[in-house]
């Protein structure tokens, strides 16, 4: 299958890419790993007239700690996160990385590309919701930071303006004891998640929950923060009963569709179970 014809350029500096995007406006689309964009173009679900390939901008290829955050540059592949010692600073990020698609896609696809793609069946945006990430967007006229809740607008829709691109996504590294987990149910490696649940817990010095993050994959028209479940947890002492209540609240925030991967009621139940298990795993790593 062939995508529709397009104009192509591959600048080797960020400034070059931003200048090209500024000139192209709505017509320009960033090509990073291409593991979602190229299949969509081949299936004619996307037909950008101009691609700005950022694969030659090596300065965007990093996973590193910066000012108390873990930052992932726009050219960092999923597999760069799998192999990164710095990424271990965020339990939920390092837990999710090996479960993104398959090894070949992880060698090529990028974290920031997946975040920008806003596919509700994509894993990373649930992780970023749980970790309370910020997206760094740059254009030729400057840079701004967008909280992940505001970045995700809807089904395949982010809040970038024409001429802007994601240059990094950063998650704050919790100062106290913390842990995280990404639980993913999939039919086979490489398939989309049937259900995915990202959880992160930060504990106060007295052992109560200082902050909780829960993001849900493939159960709504966008990756969803389970706010009511997070509210239940915050300030409380962790217990199995509390985690089960949070699971029920996360399930109530889900509105999955019945499809080839399973029926809606079953998926909602998986959300409850995976939230409970994910929180237990997050607590275990926070207290170990």
């Amino acid at each position: 299958m062939y995508p529709p014809a397009f104009e192509y350029q591959a600048p080797d500096t960020l400034e070059g890419a931003l200048a090209a995007l500024a000139e192209l406006g709505d017509e320009g689309r960033v090509l990073a790993g291409g593991q979602s964009l190229i299949p969509m173009m081949k299936l004619r679900l996307a037909a950008p007239s101009h691609l700005v390939d950022i694969n030659r901008i090596s300065e965007l290829s990093y996973v590193r700690r910066e000012n108390g955050s873990l930052c992932i540059g726009a050219l960092a592949r999923h597999n760069d996160v799998v192999g990164s010692a710095d990424a271990k600073a965020s339990g939920v990020v390092s837990s999710a990385a090996p479960w993104i698609s398959d090894p070949l896609v992880r060698n090529r696809g990028t974290v920031c590309g997946s975040v920008a793609h806003c596919d509700p069946e994509g894993d990373w945006n649930s992780v970023m919701l749980a970790a309370r990430a910020s997206v760094v967007a740059q254009s030729s006229s400057g840079s701004r930071t967008i909280g992940i809740d505001d970045f995700i607008v809807s089904f395949f829709t982010n809040s970038l303006e024409p001429g802007e691109m994601v240059t990094a996504v950063c998650v704050p590294i919790p100062s106290g004891a913390s842990g995280g987990a990404y639980m993913k149910l999939e039919r086979k490696i490489g398939d989309y998640a049937t259900v995915g649940v990202a959880t992160q817990l930060e504990l106060a010095s007295d052992g109560t929950i200082a902050q909780a993050g829960i993001g849900l994959t493939a159960v709504n028209y966008q990756n969803t923060r389970a706010s009511a479940a997070e509210d239940l947890l915050r300030g409380e002492t962790p217990s199995d009963e509390l985690f089960a209540e949070a699971g029920a609240a996360a399930a109530a925030a889900s509105d999955p569709q019945t499809d080839v991967r399973g029926d809606a009621e079953w998926k909602r139940n998986v959300v409850a179970v995976y939230t409970r298990r994910g929180l237990a795993q997050a607590l275990a790593s926070a207290t170990s």
Partner: protein, 159 residues
Amino acid sequence: MQININVNGTDHSLDVEPRRLLVDAIRGDLGLRGTHIGCDTTSCGACTVLVDGTPIKSCTMFAVQADGSAVTTVEGLKGADGLSAVQQGFSAEHGLQCGFCTPGMMLVSTALLEENPDPSEDDIRWAISGNICRCTGYVNIVKAVQWAAAAARNGGEEG
């Protein structure tokens, strides 16, 4: 667009449309038909090649993106001394049935052994998990990789 790629040790200069997929440049422009097109939707791994040593799906990369890169296809696995350890392993353990997935399987296995010369069975299954064998011949594929790992450890002698 004019691109320069090194495929299996030979430099090629090609004139390709930006939308030409790497797999089609390899098969069509260079006539190397060992790289297969299976699903054509980034799902099966039949089109796996190594780009600068890293296994990727060549149906999901544009040929222009490989400009300046070194590509290894199944045709490039054979060395001056004959078949590589991985190729010998697939032969010795009959790591194939219909053979359609075999080039991709051998390329990911080659990359795995480069990085981890003594992989566990789990390591091997994990490494090949992006490549689908529709005959479901995974048991012998895993044995083939184990054979190759043992052979390489024994200095090229049979494992």
